[in-house]
């Protein structure tokens, strides 16, 4: 148990050491850079809130990825699903001016979830009925979603003055408000955390979640025991898409308030790294997404104060992910055994299986 907590920290320490070498070689002061990174990510109330805001879409998409991956459905399309969810939210959001706030919010979020569910569901249906590999279909649907966004902001949803490729802002009633403005703290993060708990319960406390995990571990055995693979595939991909789409809707409702091209900087792809770092555990998604959000947020301060190029920031992010994943292997267990001895205490508590009476 201890090791599962210590591991990510050890990985971070190793990443910091490696990065220090790179920074020193480039003539920058590693300490100054890390201080700026920490300062940028957590140095003030605003910095903390911005870290949270930057992490929120990563939680939604991270949950989408971890849910699908738990069923061995390799959904690479969280980005497209988020984009379609955002389009649906942006389209619906402009028409909600006459509704009460709560209904408008519920509607815009539902529209986003539905949009994402349709986009994920298409890939699920193609897998279940036509045996199309979901890796391919979700990547293709990503392209379609990006172009669809580009088209709507140049066409049907373009703002009335036709000067900029953006949509009209959504109605104020459909906007998630900022608490403690001017900070951008909003309800989106809370929703993400609640959904993470819900996903955890779905996977580990329900019969359907069990079926999904069984399908993920051994599709053949799941088939033998009457688990309806096609239905479960469509359902899981739709739910995965809904989570990503909801992330898109939250982004539109709380932050961007309108649609524009390249709305997502690649959250759906970063989400794969988030989900893997969290070992697909929905509760682990929250700290993993916060880590990525903090790196992203802190790196801007790093650029400002230390003159580190944004490219180097990406190098640092990449190194951190790689090192965390590299630590997350049986080899690490072996290393621990070599240093601390085989898990000695609990081995003594129970007699070895080989000595138990057989029959």
């Amino acid at each position: 148990m201890l090791s599962s907590i210590a591991k990510p920290f050890a990985a971070l320490a190793l990443a910091a050491a490696l990065i220090s070498i790179v920074l020193a070689a480039l003539g920058a002061s590693p300490l100054g850079v890390f201080a700026a990174l920490g300062e940028g990510a957590f140095g003030s109330w605003y910095a903390c809130v911005d870290t949270i805001v930057k992490s929120t879409p990563l939680i939604f998409t991270g949950l989408a990825v971890s849910l699908a991956f738990s069923g061995a459905l390799w959904n690479i399309g969280a980005d497209g699903q988020l984009t379609i969810g955002a389009i649906a939210a942006g389209a619906v959001g402009t028409h909600l001016g006459d509704f009460p706030h709560s209904i408008a919010i519920a509607t815009i979020l539902a529209a986003g979830a539905l949009g994402g569910a349709v986009w994920g569901g298409i890939a699920g249906w193609l897998r279940a009925r036509r045996d199309v590999n979901e890796v391919i279909s979700t990547i293709m649907l990503n392209f379609v979603a990006v172009q669809a966004l580009s088209w709507v902001v140049h066409g049907p949803l373009m703002e009335p003055s036709r000067a900029y490729p953006t949509s009209s802002p959504i109605a104020p009633a459909a906007q998630l408000e900022f608490y403690f403005a001017p900070s951008r703290l909003n309800l989106g993060m809370l929703l993400a955390v609640v959904l993470a708990a819900a996903c955890y319960m779905l996977l580990f406390n329900t019969s359907t979640g069990f079926e999904l995990r069984a399908m993920g571990r051994n599709r053949r055995a799941a088939t033998f025991f009457g688990i309806r693979i096609p239905a479960l595939t469509v359902w899981a991909m739709a739910l995965s898409g809904a989570l990503a789409g909801l992330g898109g809707a939250v982004q539109v409702s709380a932050i961007s308030h309108r649609l524009y091209e390249k709305l997502s900087p690649g959250w759906g792809f970063e989400a794969i790294a988030v989900a893997l770092v969290a070992r697909l555990n929905p509760l682990g998604i929250i700290p993993a997404a916060l880590l990525f959000g903090a790196l992203d947020n802190g790196s801007q301060a790093m650029q400002r104060t230390q003159g580190i190029s944004p490219e180097l920031v990406q190098v640092i992010q990449g190194l951190v992910i790689l090192i965390i994943l590299a630590f997350d292997t049986p080899a690490w267990g072996g290393l621990r055994e070599n240093i601390f001895g085989a898990s000695g205490d609990d081995a003594a508590a129970v007699p070895p299986v080989a000595e138990m009476p057989d029959a």
């Binding site: 051994n218 055995a221 799941a222 070895p352 299986v353 057989d358 029959a359």
Partner: protein
């Protein structure tokens, strides 16, 4: 000379090998016998370099082997044939063999050269290879074993270690295979044969080493011992063969009815051709046949994994299926025991309320079944992969029976199991039938079927036929299994 010196290997809480000494001489077939979980396979893996021992070392001709390196073992002249097939299903047999020593090692892969060399070696060993370009997936198990042996021999090893190679072979294939081993011995190689089939060990081995619970309990020769004595050494207790009489005496109303069942593959070839039979309450009906005659497909149809092209299956009451491939179809190895238990829908429903899974109830149920079915496991939270083959099968039987079905369909359930586990699985099946359940037991082991089945059917070429109730002559039945007509 191949020697293992005081090898100790521990897996978590399990002491798999406890200071094992072992030696085998050139020109010798050395049988390594023991029940499931005795440590045979672990010892083999240490000798062939795929596992590093915690203590001790393997020595070939006074030279210590590098621990934990299959490549080093191979270079030193030790080749192994593993228990579970290590073939690439969707590749051709030549491609599979190209990974062995047949590849001339030129820049480009020369499959024709591989095939020629393989055929030459196969001919020398007395068997034939299929036509070129045929993939592994539809080949019989006997052919797969031969291909694996061939691949191992392609390295021209001085030591060949075989892990339970014969458990999948029919009677006629077995004789040929034992001759093959004798040929290898004649060439002065060291052959280590891991088996739990004692008759076989006595028939072919020069010396026998008996393992029990990770320790060597006897070193002997066939001349000095007997099957009974070896069985006693292996298990340390007397096995009571189940009494089949009960199952034969009374049967009730038909529970499982199969009518005109047919299955064609995508080319239109008939894999199953108009099967009709019924199984009644309280009856154990056996289907005997050489593997690859449609049994797997029949089980898949009964389990609902496939749809028949024609005909229908009627079952009065729930059915539990125990598929033949424990590790692929029956269990999810990297899930916990209790999770594997609730793979069965009736058990899952038992611990589910309004869609919510009650894990502690499932764990309680699992603990109860571990106790009742004597599954050797630390507890319900153990991963299925940590169990030995026999205990995996006990888990499957426990799951099937506790699902309270009217019918159990079981396919090769005792394959690879030792005497104790086999007897116990059979006793459970007999108890189930005695309690009014219907059992369809599909097996390629005629002795098993004759021991516990009241009625015997033969499957051959996708067709099924009843046998005469009085006809229990294994030789005649063996001929029918091979496809002979009356």
């Amino acid at each position: 000379m191949l020697r293992a010196n005081a090898i100790t290997k521990r897996f978590g809480r399990t002491l798999a090998l406890d200071g094992v000494d072992f030696e085998a001489l050139p020109g010798e077939i050395h049988a390594l016998v023991g029940e499931n979980g005795a440590g045979k396979t672990t010892l083999m893996k240490v000798l062939s370099g795929s596992l590093a021992p915690d203590n001790g070392q393997a020595v070939l001709d006074e030279r210590p082997l590098q621990a934990g390196s299959p490549r080093a073992a191979l270079e030193a002249g030790i080749a192994a044939v593993h228990q579970s097939p290590m073939l690439f299903e969707r590749m051709t047999w030549e491609e599979n063999l190209a990974l062995g020593g047949f590849d001339p090692g030129a820049e480009l892969l020369d499959l024709a050269a591989v095939a020629t060399r393989a055929r030459a070696l196969a001919a020398k060993l007395g068997f034939e290879l299929p036509p070129g370009g045929i993939t592994i997936e539809n080949r019989s198990v006997a052919e797969r074993v031969r291909l694996e042996v061939l691949r191992a021999l392609s390295f021209n090893p001085r030591v060949l270690i075989l892990d339970e190679p014969t458990s999948v072979l029919g009677p006629s294939e077995l004789a040929a295979f034992l001759d093959l081993l004798r040929n290898l011995r004649g060439e002065g190689r060291i052959v280590v044969l891991i088996t739990h089939k004692l008759a076989e060990a006595i028939a072919v081995a020069d010396r026998v080493t008996v393992l029990r619970r990770g320790r060597v309990v006897a070193r002997t020769t066939p001349a000095e011992t007997s099957e009974e004595q070896l069985a006693g050494l292996m298990i340390g207790e007397i096995v009571i063969q189940p009494d089949a009489a009960a199952a034969r005496s009374h049967t009730g109303a038909p529970v499982l009815q199969i009518e005109n069942l047919a299955l064609a593959d995508h080319t239109g070839r008939r894999i199953l051709d108009g099967l009709s039979f019924r199984v009644s309450a309280g009856e154990i009906a056996g289907i005997a046949g050489v593997d690859g005659n449609g049994q797997t497909e029949l089980v898949e149809l009964l389990a609902g994994v496939r749809k028949p092209s024609d005909g229908k299956v009627t079952s009065r009451g729930a059915m539990s299926v125990i598929p033949q491939n424990r590790d692929l179809d029956g269990l999810i190895l990297d899930m916990r025991l209790w999770e594997n238990l609730i793979l069965a829908r009736p058990l899952r429903e038992q611990v589910t309320l309004h869609g919510w899974l009650n894990a502690s109830r499932a764990i309680g149920l699992c603990r109860e079944l571990i106790e009742r079915f004597r599954i050797r496991a630390p507890g319900p939270d153990t991963l299925a992969s940590a169990l030995s083959g026999g205990n995996r099968q006990r888990l499957e039987v426990a799951r099937a029976i506790s699902s309270q079905p009217r019918v159990i369909v079981a396919h090769n359930i005792c394959r690879g199991l030792d005497l104790v586990a086999t007897a116990e699985v059979h006793r459970r099946i007999l108890d189930f039938a005695a309690g009014g359940g219907a059992v369809l037991l599909i097996s390629s082991d005629l002795d098993e079927l004759l021991a516990i089945c009241g009625r015997l059917l033969i499957i051959s070429g996708g067709k099924i036929r009843e046998t005469n109730p009085g006809d229990r002559d294994p030789q005649r039945l063996g001929l029918l299994m091979a496809g002979a007509r009356d």
